[in-house]
């Protein structure tokens, strides 16, 4: 099955200060293999910050996040075992969808699906060889999501994954997420709308 079977994400008493303002005060969270976590809360409450701290882009003032695997030693750093899809797609407009996915795959290693198949899964088979600059916002979003499928990483951090997606694409995304959870992966999403999957752990951040 999958190598991610026994992973769990542990976030312990995370404090984050940005620009002199304390954004997160002692956030703790435990996510088990096959579990979806949803971070909710009003705008500016620190949802994106939490995801960026877990991905390792931002250093926390105190506390830590770790992705542990039972019985595994010498784990790669957390940053090398997460996929991050943020507000920015991380796509090059001048490159085609296939080239973008291929590059993302080479960058992160651990190949799972070839770019063509990953783009098939997000129903973009017809624009594989079109520069991403010509795609709509929703299509670009789908290309960014196809990156999740191309390279195999246990933890997915999704920041507002539903943005710009139409109804059909939302259903598709839920399918992809459920599939990843089924393989023993973990998904932590910052979102305003629940994805509606069973067994979801909700983490509500409150304004200070």
């Amino acid at each position: 099955m999958s190598h991610t079977q026994s992973c769990h994400l542990q976030v312990a008493d995370l404090w984050v200060v940005r620009g002199g303002r304390t954004v997160l005060r002692g956030v703790s969270l435990r996510l088990d293999a096959g579990q979806l976590g949803e971070v909710t809360g009003s705008n500016g409450v620190g949802k994106s910050t939490l995801l960026r701290v877990i991905a390792g882009f931002l250093p926390p003032a105190s506390g830590c996040a770790s992705l542990n695997e039972w019985g595994a030693k010498d784990l790669a750093p957390l940053a090398e075992r997460v996929h991050y899809v943020g507000h920015l797609d991380g796509l090059k407009s001048a490159l085609t969808a296939r080239e973008n996915i291929q590059f993302g795959l080479t960058l992160s290693g651990q190949a799972r699906l070839p770019p063509r198949e990953a783009l098939d899964r997000v129903e973009l088979a017809h624009v594989v060889d079109l520069p991403v600059g010509y795609l709509s916002a929703g299509q670009r979003r789908r290309v960014a999501l196809a990156r999740l499928l191309a390279a195999d990483r246990p933890l997915w951090l999704l920041d507002e994954p539903l943005t710009a997606l139409d109804r059909a694409a939302r259903v598709m995304l839920m399918g992809i997420v459920a599939d990843h959870l089924g393989r023993g992966g973990l998904v932590l999403a910052a979102t305003h709308e629940p994805l509606g999957l069973p067994g979801t752990l909700e983490l509500r951040l409150e304004a200070q």
Binding site: A55, P59, Y84, H87, G90, L91, S93, A94, L107
Partner: protein, 223 residues
């Protein structure tokens, strides 16, 4: 990891050739500068051939600076930089490879075309050789030093000017020794090798140190 670095190199080369990449912009700028100087100086061939190496070097320096502000900014703006931070390849090596790709796309054509442009400045054979060799060693050093400035200004919307201000002092030693090497080759009275070896040392030092500095600045920018 080698695959990753090769992919970064290849991607940056492809991007510099496609629309919006601006890879050939530096060459056209270089040509424009070298073309206009003889008009500004007037029909004095002796003067022109004496200051020719310096003009070529100034042109190459400005042309290199021109494209550097987009070196990391484009990746920062579209979120590619975040993806690179999640890669197992160390950011320092990614920066190094990006600089090399940038130099191959903008610096190397300048070096190749400089003998041709040198003819427009009435340079003779030894002078052409000296300038070309000094450019071959010196322009990568400029690119690496410029990468530090590019990484520091990556979050600024119009960081190009600040980048130039940051990089100019760092580029002074490169400028001094490259132009003196080129002039030495032209005049033949002083040793070419002494300034040239110092230039090589500067190039190697920037090759080794600048990626570390630039990567540190980029990590700060990701916050």
């Amino acid at each position: 990891m080698t695959d990753t670095l090769r992919a970064v190199f290849y991607r940056d080369l492809v991007l510099s050739r496609r629309i919006g990449g601006g890879g050939s912009l530096a060459i056209i700028f270089f040509l424009g500068l070298v073309t206009i100087v003889p008009f500004a100086i007037g029909p004095d061939l002796n003067l022109l051939s004496r200051i020719g190496p310096a003009i070529l070097w100034l042109g190459a320096f400005l042309a290199t600076l021109l494209g550097l502000d987009r070196l990391f900014q484009a990746d920062h703006e579209d979120g590619s930089l975040d993806q690179m931070l999640l890669s197992p390849a160390p950011l320092e090596l990614v920066v190094l490879v990006k600089c090399l790709a940038h130099w191959c796309a903008t610096g190397l054509p300048l070096v190749i075309l400089s003998p041709l442009f040198g003819l427009m400045l009435a340079l003779d054979g030894p002078a052409l050789g000296g300038v070309t060799v000094s450019l071959l060693v010196g322009t990568p050093a400029l690119t690496f030093l410029g990468a530090i400035g590019a990484a520091l200004t990556v979050t600024l919307r119009r960081g190009g000017l600040l980048l130039s201000i940051l990089v100019v002092p760092l580029a002074v030693p490169v400028m001094i020794f490259s132009v003196s090497a080129a002039s030495a080759a032209a005049s033949g009275t002083v040793s070419f090798l002494t300034p040239f070896l110092i230039l090589c040392a500067l190039g190697l030092a920037s090759f080794a140190l600048a990626p570390i500095a630039a990567a540190a600045a980029l990590r700060g920018a990701a916050e």
